[in-house]
Symmetry: C2
Subunit: 288 residues, 2 copies
């Protein structure tokens, strides 16, 4: 697939068997070539447009997150239960935008797991303090033995389409002029297609008649799975939910193309390249 999707393409072999085999894990950690990702407060170290790694020095087992293998070299990150996630600043996002998607995908994997550890130190089932388990890919409760796994929260992000125009919206928190696709969390008891239809109806009052899947992306703030779709809708009458959106409007192919190209007279500011909303606009243009 030639569509560019940010945060995909991490060149990781996740080496999943080592998560369940303490001897295999110990051998990877003892490998003199093993590397540790530089991730203080979840901001990546970057050198020459790539993630920065340092030689792995011995760490307690409960601080070791096995990311996997890259170029057959074991790769780890350090679980710091006291870590406080750095905010998603424009500087951080510019830094990630300077990385190739595959490098950003490695960062995404590490960030989502480390941030989950920092925010899930206790057992949701019984309240006891838990400890990292399975090479950092789980936490185990020593009291009730419940295993907890990192969350991956599916989110639908979609363009409503009517007579060769698509609906874009902006939240009050967006930068001036910026518009994007509409989005929302998939809830239990609904399919992707039903979540797309529900969110479009809740936020914009439009009625989906069919939904087609386009692409997906991991989004590490903190751990969404972004699922991009295009929905045909029954008409173009919009009823905004002002609690969710400040404005919404229909745009043509020419207007989307001008915005993606950041032309001076573009009618909206497009989402950045690393966001799947950008890929979704490109996919829609490519579907002609």
């Amino acid at each position: 697939m030639s569509l560019y999707v940010g945060f995909t393409g991490a060149p990781l072999d996740r080496a999943e068997p080592a998560r369940h085999d303490p001897a295999m894990l110990a051998a990877l950690a003892a490998n003199p070539a093993a590397l540790l990702l530089d991730m203080t407060d979840f901001v990546p170290g970057v050198a020459d447009g790539a993630l920065a790694w340092t030689p792995l020095t011995p760490l307690p087992a409960e601080e070791l997150l096995l990311l996997g293998l890259i170029d057959n070299i074991p790769r780890f990150a350090r679980i710091d239960p006291g870590a406080v996630a750095a905010k998603r600043t424009p500087e951080l996002m510019a830094l990630l935008d300077s990385l190739a998607a595959g490098e950003a995908g490695v960062y995404a994997t590490a960030r989502s797991v480390l941030d989950w550890h920092a925010r899930h130190r206790f057992c949701a089932n019984c309240g006891a303090r838990t400890a990292p388990h399975h090479a950092g890919w789980a936490r185990l409760c020593p009291v009730c033995s419940t295993e907890h796994y990192p969350r991956t929260d599916p989110v639908v992000i979609m363009l409503a389409e009517f007579e060769d125009r698509v609906l874009i919206g902006r939240q009050a928190s967006f930068a001036p002029g910026r518009y994007s696709a509409l989005a929302g969390f998939v809830e239990v008891g609904e399919s992707i297609e039903e979540a797309v239809a529900r969110e479009l109806h809740e936020e914009a009052g439009v009625v989906a008649t069919s939904v087609r899947y386009i692409a997906s992306q991991p989004w590490p703030f903190p751990s969404q799975l972004m699922i991009a779709c295009i929905a045909s809708v029954a008409d173009d009458v919009v009823t905004l939910d002002l609690a969710e959106l400040e404005d919404a409007k229909w745009v043509s192919r020419a207007e989307v193309a001008a915005s993606l190209a950041a032309e001076p007279d573009a009618v909206f500011g497009a989402p950045p390249r690393y966001a799947i909303a950008n890929s979704l606009f490109n996919a829609w243009l490519g579907e002609i």
Copy 2:
């Protein structure tokens, strides 16, 4: 879309604004027509092929889960923090199979949220006991103010395809003769397509060259989002991960059709109609 997918099509208006508006919620609960889903230990009451409801009697706010509206009538379920989920017995699955998909979808919504409450009574961030919030669609920690939301765990389920045959596998726990599509949880830091490729490689040693999305389904045991795909693979040489699969084999369209029709000489027992694996086989046959 004419493809049958179990657990989809719930006729629920989720009435999301009422989750955030105590007065609106109270009005729905006070509506004399309001109904309560019969869900003792998460087994649905069923009458005449449909879910059984009883008139809502006053409940403490922290026991009220607002499912939404059906036919403009408010629908609730009762949050019982002491509930113990009934096992997924053949009897329960036969009961669900007797329901239309939309009815099973309402059950799926209720079961996933109620089961989440029963297993998430404490704050993962600080260990304090939490309480239901937002009409049962969240839990709030009274100590650190963290809001917790129900989990929806994305799972990929896929057929590897090579030269007009697809790969099916069986776990040791399956009923004799039963085979299905391969499956696994989507992890943080990967897209749907990457999860499909990783799982196929981990479990069967095959290499995906392209992945196409087919359909999705909520699965309420406890709260998966099943994402069904077909992956073209580079060859048909299978290397089984025996920790995951007991056997795998390639089957033709005729063999899949015979299995779906439960013909006596079928080479495998197909998954039941309510499982998206069944829909996936039907989609593959329909793609000819």
